[in-house]
């Protein structure tokens, strides 16, 4: 029952036990991953054989390739970063444009468009991936047979991965930025216009600064979702695999603790991003 009502002892005990079990369930997998990044053994499995930093620092001459010398993993991190940057920039720009479109303009078919904008969220990621793969490959095929053009960017590869991830992340940025634009007090803009400011100046000095927290927040979410995306990426990936795909491949082969090391890095990076967002959110609130 709620905190203001008397609760019998058994219920309180049950609540505490439940919360403890819930937290254990949440954090057990993650702590395990982190701990075994430091185990001095060739496989991430018990028993504990002592502390080592080999899985971070080791190189081929030591017999163990650590994260900092694993060119394949480092390369895929760079690939993921490049993809995530593109997806973030494009999604935030389009999301901002969409939110102005939906909040400030009336046009025929607006209702239908607003529903269509939400559709990408309810399409399973695998299907987004194969549908984009099928269409782009067929267009590339057609261009090749009709004109002899070699449209490389339509073949599986990073441009398609960016397009596939963008196709649904744009919905998220649109929702986040629209939600803030909706709460904007338009009398501020009117006052500035009355005082002789140009429309461009109003946008630059009033509307965009107001939207900035939502744009930064949605940029962080986009970056994270892109970096972590697996389903859509798997279908569209070419020769350069982003991190999640590389990790998946290695996990199917039977992983060495270097995967734990890279996972620990991901956790720290996510935590840093989350903390800075929380702090930023508090300041702007």
């Amino acid at each position: 029952m709620i905190s203001t009502l008397p609760r019998p002892v058994w219920l309180r005990t049950a609540t505490v036990l439940y919360v403890a079990a819930f937290l254990l369930f949440l954090f057990l997998p993650l702590t395990t991953v982190a701990v075994f990044a430091f185990n001095n053994a060739p496989y991430p499995a018990p028993p504990w054989r002592g502390f080592t930093l080999d899985w971070f620092l080791g190189n081929a001459s030591a017999g163990r390739v650590g994260l900092f010398h694993d060119t394949e993993l480092l390369g895929s991190i760079v690939t993921s970063l490049i993809v995530a940057c593109w997806v973030t920039v494009v999604s935030v720009i389009i999301g901002t444009a969409n939110s102005f479109l939906m909040e400030r303009f009336e046009f025929p078919g607006k209702q239908a468009l607003s529903v269509l904008m939400l559709v990408p969220l309810v399409i399973p990621g695998v299907i987004l991936g194969i549908s984009i793969l099928a269409l782009s490959s067929r267009i590339a095929e057609l261009a090749d047979t009709l004109f002899g053009w070699d449209l490389d960017f339509l073949r599986p590869g990073l441009p398609l991965v960016v397009a596939g991830q963008f196709s649904y992340i744009a919905t998220i940025t649109t929702l986040m930025i629209s939600a803030r634009l909706k709460r904007f007090d338009r009398t501020l803009e009117e006052a500035a216009l009355n005082l002789g400011a140009s429309h461009a100046a109003v946008l630059r000095t009033i509307t965009f600064p107001y939207l900035r927290p939502a744009m930064i927040g949605s940029a962080a979410i986009s970056f994270l979702m892109s970096f972590e995306n697996f389903n859509t990426t798997l279908m569209l990936v070419g020769a350069d695999a982003p991190l999640t795909v590389t990790m998946y491949g290695r996990m199917r082969e039977g992983a060495s603790p270097v995967l734990n090391a890279v996972s620990l890095f991901l956790m720290l990076a996510s935590a840093a991003l989350a903390l800075s967002l929380l702090r930023g959110g508090r300041r702007s609130a």
């Binding site: 709620i2 993650l30 479109l101 990621g125 695998v126 987004l128 269409l135 697996f230 996972s263």
Partner: protein
């Protein structure tokens, strides 16, 4: 929103120009990446190859699905496990959301909420890796069971349906906790106190006050969790191994491994159909609009 009463609004031609420039990217995005690819996928699924580069309209792929037991069995299995995972997620998440909104107070409440969200900032791959290390035969839990004397030799905890369920529930928790917390937060404690003072039991308060109030959040959470589980690929294949028999895996095999795009496209549409049907059903049952549900989460 051309506002005639506003003398400061831009001239009509300029507004039209801006509208065009804002409309263009939205339409390009939705047409090129959502609408056209799905039309193309539909066309692909409805044709059959009779010779190299020669095709004919056909329902062959859908017929194969229904006549080949393996295919529809995997489909049904995926749907059933997804439904089970959704129900379990609700059971696990509801008490947590209740504690966050109604039992814990002030800082403890918001701290607990943030703590609940943290694991989901980490990639699903990492979370699956955690379960692999915990559950595999040489892993942490089996060796713990041996040490405790519960099993004589390490048992393989991976590659069971229950393992897939655990993994799916774990991955989905966030998408259930957030809508539940949002809907329970707006429930006025005074209602519960009044019912309690009038002698209602805990069960009847839950049934007549809490669940009706939280229904929109429950539906929204269930819809999203079911959809995400159905479309999941990583968790079932890693935790279920060869026994996972997940429908998205069939799609991947047809598309990428066998290069049978027609069959893969048909499978894709069947999955999309099931997912859409469940979303529609959930909305119908709770009498909500799609737009409101998506906004809520």
């Amino acid at each position: 929103m051309v506002d005639a009463a506003d003398p400061l609004s831009q001239p009509a031609w300029r507004r039209r120009l801006v509208l065009t420039w804002l409309l263009a990217p939205a339409l390009l995005w939705l047409l090129l990446l959502i609408v056209l690819p799905h039309i193309d996928l539909a066309l692909l699924s409805l044709r059959r190859r009779i010779a190299p580069h020669v095709y004919q309209p056909s329902l062959l792929q859908f017929k194969t699905f229904f006549t080949e037991p393996l295919y529809w069995q995997v489909f049904v299995r995926t749907a059933v496990i997804s439904a089970l995972a959704t129900a379990l997620t609700l059971l696990v998440a509801f008490p947590a959301a209740w504690v966050i909104t109604k039992v814990a107070r002030g800082r403890a409440s918001s701290l607990l909420f943030v703590v609940c969200l943290i694991p989901f900032w980490v990639s699903e791959t990492v979370r699956a890796l955690g379960w692999l290390i915990l559950l595999r035969e040489s892993g942490v839990l089996p060796s713990l069971l041996v040490k405790l004397g519960l099993t004589p030799v390490p048992v393989e905890l991976l590659y069971h349906d229950a393992t897939i369920l655990v993994g799916l529930v774990y991955t989905s928790l966030l998408f259930m906790v957030v809508p539940l917390v949002n809907s329970l937060e707006s429930l006025d404690n005074a209602l519960i106190e009044a019912a309690y003072n009038l002698g209602a039991s805990g069960a009847s308060i839950l049934r007549h006050i809490v669940i009706p109030h939280a229904a929109p959040g429950i539906t929204a959470g269930c819809i999203i969790v079911f959809m995400l589980t159905l479309g999941n690929y990583l968790t079932p294949t890693l935790l279920g191994g060869k026994n996972s028999q997940w429908f998205t895996e069939l799609i991947y095999t047809q598309f990428i491994v066998r290069f049978n795009w027609e069959q893969g496209a048909a499978f894709g549409f069947l999955l999309l159909g099931l997912s859409t049907a469940m979303v529609a059903l959930g909305l119908r049952l709770s009498g909500q609009r799609f737009v409101d549900v998506m906004r809520r989460t």
